[in-house]
Point group: C2
Chain length 223, copies 2
């Protein structure tokens, strides 16, 4: 059977550094960006629990408005566009291209799977110049339920005609891997920053700090 | 039929200021506390989605360890105890006692309902000197599912032998009220800081910045 790797995108493949620069313009506090992103994630899980759905980009915009308001900062349409625009133009980490080329050379299917809309995914992959490396990409829009609800992992597996044991989910977010694991996939954690993997979440099957190393661990490629 | 008010505790009745002082000892960033609390909340929703459960205090400790580790700070057992200990000793807001006394004088049932353990709730209410104002209190431990999953709101309604339309959930967290509303309760938002109520969450039926005002809005007490 054909094997496949499902990749999360933000922070996993794409470097948030551009976004940091945007936040640094408005906040001296280095936790402002982390707070915003965690707030965004929390709202996505709350929406999922309540059984409602909105485009992730809309949630990101709301979290941004909340952050600025709490900090008594005005958020002009221009600044909003600038920050959310930077989100669309994140560069890929250096280790992404060689790792994905290795997969393709070994006939392993390369799939992107994101909380963002299809349009956003397309823009992000194009802007990061890695679109050519993907066989396909999917948005949670398809199932109206964000990761880590199991819906999207299962739906993509089915649409790609794959058996769960042939799929490896790669992410730098422990909660994403927890969801994928619950859905029946194998999981691989790529460490992108100094952090503790949540001890109450199911551990990943593979762990590395370099994407090619991670792929070699999974597939035991020669050389 | 008897009417009742369900109160969330942290930030709603209890002032997080003591906790701020603890965080200020270790972090210059004012968002460190907000980031920690949001991270904690996110992990609680993830656990709920995955169908697993741990004491909220354990989740709080993990989020604290993660925060310190990310910031390359050592977290001694002493510091951990100090910070989590402060969580147990939060003072009540000044408007809490008069508002709750008004409810009791009008024969309305006063109930606390928290993500924390029963033991933690008991300590917090005692330390804040408001235990005498409560008819009863409940922990999500009962249902092994955090707020805003509907389980706890429904379970307490049943245990208290109340009909849903006679219950008003009071909280300063929009996601808590979203959950209560979904479960069929009426909701009242007490604003405790400068923030935007999430535009995608069901709005509260009542809103105020003072607890007694909020109670008067709900019940139309003659002053």
């Amino acid at each position: 059977m054909k094997k496949a790797v499902f990749f999360d995108m933000n922070e996993t493949l794409l470097n948030l550094s551009l976004l940091e620069k945007q936040f640094d313009k408005h906040f001296e506090d280095k936790y402002a960006l982390k707070y915003w992103f965690t707030k965004l994630l929390h709202s996505s899980t709350v929406m999922g629990i309540m059984g409602v759905y909105k485009d992730f980009g809309e949630l990101a915009a709301v979290a941004l408005e909340q952050l600025f308001y709490e900090n008594e900062l005005a958020l002009s349409q221009e600044t909003k566009n600038e920050i959310l625009g930077a989100f669309k133009k994140l560069p890929a980490y250096d280790d992404v291209r060689p790792a994905l080329e290795l997969l393709r050379a070994n006939d392993i299917r390369v799939v992107a799977l994101s909380n963002s809309s299809l349009e956003m995914i397309k823009e992000q992959l194009s802007n990061a110049s890695i679109m050519d490396l993907f066989d396909s990409y999917y948005s949670v829009d398809d199932v109206s339920k964000y990761k880590p609800f199991e819906d999207i992992y299962l739906s993509v597996a089915q649409q790609e005609n794959l058996t769960l044991e042939d799929i490896f989910m790669v992410a730098t977010h422990d909660w994403d891997l927890f969801g994928a694991k619950k859905a029946g996939l194998s999981t691989a954690y790529i460490s992108r920053k100094r952090e503790i993997y949540h001890p109450f979440y199911t551990p990943a099957n593979f762990t590395a700090t370099d994407m090619t190393d991670l792929m070699r661990q999974i597939f035991n490629f020669k050389s």
